[in-house]
Amino acid sequence: MLSGINFTAEPGQTTAFIGSTGSGKTTLIGLIPRFYDVTAGQVLIDNVDVRDMRLRDLSGQIGYVPQKGVLFSGTVKSNVTYGNKRASTKEIDTAIKVAQASDFVKKLEGGLQSNISQGGTNVSGGQKQRLSIARALAVKPKVYIFDDSFSALDFKTDAKLRKALQKETAGKTVLIVGQRISTIMNADKIIVMDEGKIVGQGTHDELMKHNVVYQEIAHSQLSDEELARNKNARKEAK
């Protein structure tokens, strides 16, 4: 499936993965929380092989947000605190606020204590995804993994959420799997995947210059004008 993968994701930086369906992005990030183990090579967190850590300790360092929001039956609160039972009220509130979920949680009749039915069928896809994000935030992990976690959100919520996340995840290692160029184009490092291999690494601007696969993806989604405009916007921000 995957071969010859070498990269380092630094703390305080955002590393993004892009590539077509089946290119191996999800499998790749699944190696970090040990959903799968490598056949050869190593995955290290702070120089320790993930296979040498106790699973509990490893999991405690990772805030994982799956592709599809997965919730368990219980309450909004029990879901947000699923990975950190000791989270304080303030911590819970912050997590929910950053995840852009406070508006709809407030609207629910029972607030934090509202019921979540089995499989989270009583909240919408976007709401599920936002609560999944809040759950990962409440753990306060070292490493964040967002596996295409913004797809069920509309552009606007997506943008707001990412802005809020930026503060919350400062100093942490952030890994993002993305489908939309606009979601990942501002990452510190973008890793382009194709058929289980890394075919390019670098910033958006670098990749736009040199990487054919990345260019193809970008042009299928955005016009030249938009790409140019975006470039300027980022220059200004810097």
Partner: protein, 668 residues
């Protein structure tokens, strides 16, 4: 809409208090309106009244014969016993005669009895005195084989007749039930086609499916079995009581007195076991739910260290389940032994009392034998009636659901004078359209828009803004609550639904392909297309290239899920299909998840080819599509809040501009 909790399909519970289908003591569903439902069911049976009465008569006759047989068998036993006693008495008298004495012809047992001393006479059991008295001592009596034979022949005939009647009765009944259920199924299937889509939005597939299969099945089964069982059971109970009384009122009394004891036990046990069965069902649901949830969310559970909590929860439910299953089984398991015990008590009572009566000559051995047979037969119809009561309850519940379904309000019928468009150009006008899935809370609140022929309309807006709803209205999957939608000046409500839909070609996110060849799938909307047309279209839709690399080319069979070609290829096929169908207007739903980039480019090109010169509505996700549209309908909360081209909308600097710009704010 996906936030609405879906009601799970009602769990089928059937079966009765005693054996039968379903566990002992398990609870039954009840109909809300038992009387009304039974009336409706009777109405469905009306065409079969004639046959039903035959069934009834046959059932009664068959049962009557079955009831008569033990008594007749008793006669045979009596005959054998009489003959045996006579032979013994003759031998005894002859052995005790003084040597050399011969009895004159015509001497009877009575004469001999008179001659022996009274003290000795009292030793002879009173039941035998009578047969000795009538004994003719001139010849040694033998068994009356002719009499026994004729009784046995009569019995055989009765058994056969009873079996034959019961068979014919069952056969006719099956015929009737199959016809009734056939009509029910037909009615349901026709009803499905007349129901508005709204109905299906509120229900799961399982629920609708359960009407057609489970509920109709339940009705069929219980009509088939229970209806004749009711008759036979009631006839049995009455008949057996009559027969018992004809043998001995005392034994009958003993038998009937035991009944309340049985009923008491039954009531005691079912009350307790029902509670446990309900609990068991709930817990079973809980444990399945937990397993399902953990299975589906396994990665999340692991990465958030939820293993221990999950296992603890499982053990907690499992313990409770163990407790209530154990209890439920314990109580319902008690039923059978207790019933047997009580039955045996009655049996002992009958045997003791019967023996005593026989010794005193009030009753004959054959009668006791017949009586015991009746006692054994007696329990069955009583148990059955109790069982049937439950089966009828659940049948009524099933029938009620079926009738409720058949009574659902249907979609408005097509107009009587439908208008057909000769040469549709595709000018679509929405005029103050209001619509809600639930009329009380409209999702589209007064939409007006004019779409010129051949233009490309992009529908954009956040999730839940009503984009899909707009398409549903346009295709008349739903009817507007007020306002009008016209195509080339004709209100779509004045057209036939099929004609409206024929005006549109559809390419949706969920590609719909069926198992069959690729050719079949492409020509689905235009079965008369020639091979040349088909291939020309396939080329234009960028299908030809990948198809020619497939084994079998256009003849390749797609399997059920069509997963032997890629997602992108599937989309191309649906585009080709829409292209070949040549509808004047198009509805496209752009995929949100990207396929591989090269196919993506092909899809876009194919879509462009498809949309050329056609009025097309695109539920758009790609910015390029939106930008190139002739008209953008910006939807928010069910309303088109802005409309115009990309340039005019950007100038306006409203919601659209905000939406568009949010794409380019600083990302993490």
């Amino acid at each position: 809409m996906d936030s609405q909790p879906r009601k799970p399909a009602p769990r089928q519970r059937r079966g009765g208090m005693f054996g039968g289908p379903g566990p002992v003591g398990a609870p039954t569903e009840k109909a809300k309106d038992l009387k009304g439902t039974l009336k409706k069911l009777a109405h469905h049976l009306r065409p079969y009244w004639g046959k039903l009465s035959v069934v009834l008569i046959f059932a009664i006759a068959s049962t009557a014969f079955a009831i008569a047989s033990p008594k007749i068998l008793g006669h045979a036993t009596n005959q054998i016993v009489d003959d045996y006693v006579a032979m013994k008495a003759y031998d005894a008298i002859m052995e005790n005669l003084p040597v050399g004495v011969t009895l004159p012809a015509g001497t009877t047992g009575a004469d001999v009895l008179d001659s022996i001393p009274a003290a000795e006479r009292d030793n002879i059991p009173s039941s035998q005195i009578d047969s000795i008295k009538s004994l003719d001592l001139s010849t040694r009596p033998t068994f009356h084989f002719e009499a026994i034979r004729s009784i046995i022949v009569l019995l055989l005939a009765l058994y056969l007749l009873s079996a034959a009647l019961s068979y014919i009765q069952g056969w006719i009944m099956t015929n009737i039930t199959q016809k009734v259920t056939y009509t029910l199924r037909r009615d349901i299937s026709q009803k499905i086609n007349r129901l508005p889509l709204k109905y299906f939005d509120k229900r799961t597939y399982g629920e609708v499916l359960s009407r057609v299969t489970n509920d109709v099945d339940t009705i069929s089964q219980s009509l088939n079995q229970s209806l004749s069982q009711i008759v036979t059971s009631v006839v049995m109970i009455i008949g057996i009581i009559v027969m018992m009384l004809s043998i001995s009122w005392l034994l009958t009394l003993i038998t009937i007195l035991v009944l309340p004891i049985s009923f008491g036990f039954i009531a005691f046990i079912t009350k307790r076991s029902q509670v446990q069965f309900v609990r068991q069902q709930e817990l079973l649901g809980d444990i399945n739910g937990h397993i399902e949830e953990m299975y589906a969310g396994h990665q999340v559970m692991r990465v958030f260290n939820g293993e221990r909590a999950s296992i603890a929860k499982f053990n907690r439910i499992n313990d409770k389940l163990y407790q209530s299953s154990w209890r439920a089984q314990f109580f319902s398991g008690l039923m059978f032994p207790l019933m047997t015990f009580v039955g045996n008590l009655g049996y002992v009572g009958v045997a003791v009392a019967g023996g005593w009566l026989a010794i005193n000559g009030h009753i004959r051995i054959g009668d006791i034998q017949a009586f015991i047979q009746y006692v054994q037969q007696f329990n069955q119809p009583i148990i059955q009636t109790a069982n049937i009561a439950n089966v009828l309850q659940s049948t009524a519940a099933a029938a009620e659901r079926v009738f409720e379904f058949l009574d659902e309000p249907e979609q408005a019928a097509n107009t009587t004078k439908p208008v057909t468009l000769k040469n549709p150009v595709g000018r679509v006008v929405f005029d103050k359209v209001v619509f809600g899935y639930d009329p009380k809370s409209p999702v589209i609140k007064g939409l007006s828009a004019t779409i010129e022929p051949g233009s490309r309309v992009a529908i954009v807006g956040p999730t839940g803004a009503g984009k899909t709803t707009l398409v549903n209205l346009l295709m008349r999957f739903y009817e507007v609550d007020s306002g009008t939608i016209t195509i080339d000046g004709v209100n779509i409500q004045d057209m036939r639904r099929e004609d409206v839909r024929r005006l549109f070609g559809m390419v949706l996110q969920d590609t719909w392909l069926f198992s069959g060849t690729i050719r079949d799938n492409i020509t689905y909307g235009a079965p008369n297309a020639t091979e040349e047309q088909m291939i020309a279209t396939a080329k234009e839709a960028h299908v030809d290239h990948f198809v020619s690399s497939l084994p079998g080319g256009y003849n390749m069979e797609l399997n059920e899920e069509a997963n032997n070609i890629s997602q992108g290829e599937k989309q191309l096929l649906t585009i080709a299909r829409a292209m070949l169908a040549g509808a004047p207007m198009l509805i496209l739903d752009e995929a949100t998840s990207s396929v591989d980039t090269r196919t993506e480019v092909l899809i876009q090109k194919a879509m462009d080819n498809l949309m050329r010169h056609k009025t097309s509505f695109v539920i758009a996700h790609r910015l390029s599509t939106i930008r190139d549209a002739d008209l953008i309908l910006v939807m928010k909360d069910g309303n088109v809040i802005e409309q115009g081209t990309h340039t005019t909308l950007m100038q306006k600097n409203g919601f659209y501009a905000e939406l568009y710009n949010s794409q380019f704010t600083e990302a993490i």
